[in-house]
């Protein structure tokens, strides 16, 4: 049998079998350890805050990937520096890699929280999300404020924010009357909302 005939027969055989196989895309097997995930949530190991993320970006933390889960239009309008735009339905395409740290965010935090569960189920070890999403970044990194009657704790938090805010071109504000200052997402969380 000639080479051409062998090639033709092989190609026809594989080609004829292809419709039976339907699709070449991987089915992504995943498993959830409910106890492990609930422990991580309880201990707060599922999320980081915006200032943590800003510090990681500033120090160019190795293996860091910031993932923006919003639409491409929203991403184009503005996003956290170094972020990649990946939709939730494309997350299964991110294979776990050693040494990688993923930080997810969305507009608020709902999608990012859901995506966190998906990536943990797919075997990613170091995954976090911003609980209040881009709102948190805007408030705590780009426009942190310090009330005139701030407590020592609040001052410490603000000083940390102020440092990274200047790096990212934000506008920290000191001595803002508490009555005119909106509650931050951090304060809302503290009050149990």
């Amino acid at each position: 049998m000639t080479t051409r005939r062998t090639f033709a027969i092989t190609a026809l055989t594989l080609g004829a079998a292809a419709p039976l196989a339907q699709t070449p895309f991987r089915r992504h097997e995943a498993s959830i350890d409910v106890d492990e995930l609930s422990r991580a949530i309880e201990l707060g190991d599922d999320h980081i805050d915006a200032v943590d993320l800003a510090e990681w970006i500033q120090e160019r933390r190795e293996g860091l990937r910031v993932i923006d889960l919003r639409s491409d239009g929203q991403f184009a309008a503005g996003h956290i520096p170094t972020a990649e735009n990946i939709s939730i339905d494309a997350l299964s395409g991110i294979a776990p890699r050693r040494g990688e740290t993923l930080v997810l965010y969305s507009e608020g935090g709902a999608h990012a929280g859901q995506a966190w569960v998906l990536l943990k189920a797919l075997g990613h070890e170091r995954v976090y999300f911003l609980r209040a999403g881009l709102f948190e970044w805007e408030e705590e990194v780009m426009s942190p404020t310090l009330a005139t009657d701030a407590t020592d704790d609040e001052r410490r938090v603000f000083e940390r924010s102020e440092k990274v805010s200047q790096y990212f071109g934000g506008e920290p504000q000191r001595d803002v009357p508490r009555s005119t200052r909106a509650l931050t997402t951090r304060e809302l969380r503290r009050r149990g909302c």
């Binding site: 190609a11 026809l12 080609g15 004829a16 292809a18 419709p19 339907q22 395409g93 294979a95 890699r97």
Partner: protein, 197 residues
Amino acid sequence: MMAPLFDTIAAGTVASGGIALTIGIAFGWTLERAGLGSARKLAGQFYLTDLTVVKVMFTAIITAALGVFWLGWWGVLDVSRVYVPETFVIPQIVGGLVFGAGFAAAGLCPGTSCVAAASGRRDGMLVVGGLFAGVLAMGFALKPLASFYRSTPLGARTIPAQFHISYGSAILALVLIGLGVFAGAERVERSHRAVHA
């Protein structure tokens, strides 16, 4: 190990360069072995006297399509990570026309011109020089042409999505078309040889 390798083994610059070099060497060697470093052979397809290029291309297309499909099905290749270029209808038609005119005039395409140049052929070297000059000129012209360059976008289209058929059916259709073209090319060459015998 899961392919595509660039995405999954987190290769550094040296390893990535090594993989690219190996693939490039294999590609160049294959083209040279098929005789595609010769402008005469390449020009022959436009006169229907020598359809080696068509046969090599369709052999490669069928091999790659079957390889991607079955390696993906087997789990060796993550097909969702394979880059699918975007479609821009009018710019790509215009680019194709320019490319076709250049190919016919030079008797060499970009890949085969590099093969010819590497084989010591002067025509290949001149085409490679022209190629880089054209790329440089396009770089300068990109800003004024930006709106045309990005016009009529259709996104990253695939045949299965476009025609609402399964990937497997698209592969079978591709194989049948490819083998048909191959057989047709052989017939055209035989009839040309018979006429000129």
